[in-house]
């Protein structure tokens, strides 16, 4: 398995994956930087109104929506880049006629998708800490909350990762999977808005934050652990189904 991962690492060389990994967290951080400097007064007022315990909490609340929308898009694009390397190279017939089980080939690429998103969320985490320090937020850095928001997101987008990855791997035309991924990300936004539909796994990334705005103001998200458990299980099931289907496919 290590060898397959190394081979896939080489195939990703000089690809646009790194840009996508950097793009989403940096864009959101750039927005927050502008938000907290140029609109500082308004932001402070709002933070007070929402009863945020600290500016850290407000930052978490403020960017959860953007990150919830941005992360599924990053998933869509990263999955597409990783799968498209083989599509573009005409590579499936070569890679799949190697003496390696198809399940492992599928899994190796999925691991690279996970690694790239892990990098993406880690950059976001570091960026948030730097942003808070730069703007002189008061109080200790709520590292657990920050990490929960970043790596929790990684788990809540797992079903989306599994589905988008399968789509990109099986359908050559990447415009299709990117369209589906973008619509799903936006759908999540709407689904999260209503009381019943917000329990659709698709709506989780939007709500996947350790803090949430309630009647009493910004507080801890009580449903967060439920989201994590549901989507972790769902994600693993989807990965399994995807790899089984991939292994049985005819390669044209």
């Amino acid at each position: 398995m290590k060898k397959i991962l190394q081979a896939d690492q080489l195939k990703l060389k000089r690809s646009s994956l790194l840009i996508i990994v950097l793009l989403v967290p940096l864009l959101i951080l750039a927005y927050e930087l502008v938000n907290f400097t140029y609109r500082a007064e308004f932001v402070e007022k709002q933070a007070e109104m929402f009863g945020a315990g600290s500016m850290w909490m407000f930052l978490l609340y403020d960017n959860s929506l953007l990150f919830g929308l941005g992360c599924p898009l990053a998933v869509t694009l990263a999955a597409s880049v990783i799968a498209n390397i083989e599509h573009q190279a005409n590579g499936w017939k070569q890679t799949l006629s190697m003496p390696i089980s198809r399940g492992k080939i599928y899994l190796s690429k999925f691991i690279w998708l996970t690694i790239s998103l892990f990098l993406s969320t880690t950059i976001f985490l570091i960026g948030m800490v730097l942003l808070g320090k730069l703007l002189g937020f008061e109080g200790n850095i709520p590292l657990v909350l920050l990490m929960g928001d970043c790596y929790g997101m990684l788990i809540t987008v797992l079903p989306m990762m599994a589905f988008q990855f399968w789509l990109s791997m099986t359908i050559k035309n990447q415009a299709f999977s990117i369209l589906i991924g973008s619509i799903s990300a936006i759908m999540g936004l709407f689904l999260a808005a209503a009381q019943t539909t917000r329990w659709f796994p698709l709506a989780y990334p939007i709500q996947s934050s350790t803090v949430i705005l309630q009647y009493e103001g910004i507080g801890y998200n009580p449903d967060f652990s439920a989201y994590l458990v549901i989507n972790l299980i769902l994600g693993i099931i989807l990965i399994f189904i995807g790899s089984r289907h991939f292994a049985k496919r005819n390669v044209q």
């Binding site: 195939k11 000089r14 017939k93 070569q94 006629s97 003496p99 089980s101 005819n250």
Partner: protein, 303 residues
């Protein structure tokens, strides 16, 4: 020596109602260069994809190295190198990196990369990105990938596609050398002349059906020369020869006979002239392999 290395039984592939491969029985023995010949769309690539386990046959079985492909796919693939249709290349990588990726996948020794680069003469351009390669260079890279693992069976689908004449020559010489190391080769092509120059065994496929499978010598025997006789009165001449128990075939104004020895030719001439038929042409005609191929496949014009 006569070890069957590849055997298919009644191999069939159907797409919806269309049958693209119909009950093929391939037989390849160790050390053979098997030329798999057929016009475009005859089912060559579909057959090869089935041999590599890329697509599943609708019907029939495949045995390679005495093992069933269905049950021992990975063990079999371990000993096969392949190049299927248009070459695979990761354009974002150099030629060397392309080979390195495959080397890692197959867990082969590092020195093999340089060896195969040398064999296909890509050493000079090994550090250039493959998206800048010409089609011929990409094709060579594909062949290098196929040979990387030093396989027992090499499957090459149209390996000379896109190569210039000197490249074709090189690859042909390369393929001819392989059986000396105990390798067997399955090489497909739509060009008979190419197969004629390197194969020891030929299988001709048309419309999904195998229409000829034997040694190249057998195919060449079909090329025996014929005697073409031009006479003033074909009917009469035919009657005369029949009386003498000589089998002739009348086609248009010409009589065709199956022997061409000088003594026989002059005898025919003498018989006909003495019987009062004027002979204006005695010609030895050799059928080209192309003619035989066209005869077998029943297709005219472009293949």
């Amino acid at each position: 020596m006569n070890e069957q290395i590849l055997m298919t039984n009644d191999l069939t592939k159907k797409y919806m109602k269309h049958t693209s491969v119909d009950g093929i029985n391939l037989r390849i023995e160790r050390g053979q260069i098997y030329g798999f010949l057929g016009p475009n769309g005859a089912g060559k690539t579909t057959t090869i994809r089935m041999l590599l386990g890329l697509i599943k046959p609708t019907q029939g079985t495949i045995k390679i190295f005495g093992q069933s492909l269905k049950k021992n796919r990975l063990q079999i693939l371990q000993r096969i190198g392949s190049l299927v249709e248009s070459p695979t290349y990761y354009g974002n990588l150099t030629g060397r990196e392309n080979l390195e990726a495959v080397r890692r996948l197959r867990d082969l020794p590092e020195k093999r990369v340089n060896e195969v680069l040398e064999i296909v003469r890509l050493t000079k351009v090994a550090n250039r990105l493959t998206k800048e390669y010409s089609l011929g260079m990409k094709q060579r890279l594909g062949i290098a990938v196929a040979m990387l693992s030093n396989p027992d069976l090499l499957i090459l689908d149209e390996p000379t596609n896109g190569l210039d004449p000197s490249g074709i020559q090189e690859i042909r010489e390369l393929i001819k050398e392989l059986p000396k190391a105990g390798m067997s080769v399955l090489v497909s092509s739509h060009m008979l002349s190419e197969i004629d120059q390197m194969a020891t065994q030929v299988g001709i496929i048309n419309n999904g059906k195998m229409i000829f499978q034997d040694s190249i010598e057998r195919l060449r025997q079909k090329r025996k020369p014929l005697l073409k006789v031009g006479v003033s009165d074909g009917m009469k001449a035919n009657e005369i020869l029949k009386e003498r128990k000589l089998k002739a075939n009348l086609q248009g104004d010409f009589l065709w006979l199956s022997q061409t020895e000088p003594a026989f030719v002059s005898e025919i001439n003498s018989i006909l002239v003495h019987a009062g038929v004027s002979v204006y042409r005695l010609e030895e005609v050799t059928k080209t392999l192309e003619d035989i191929f066209l005869e077998l496949t029943g297709t005219e014009g472009s293949l």
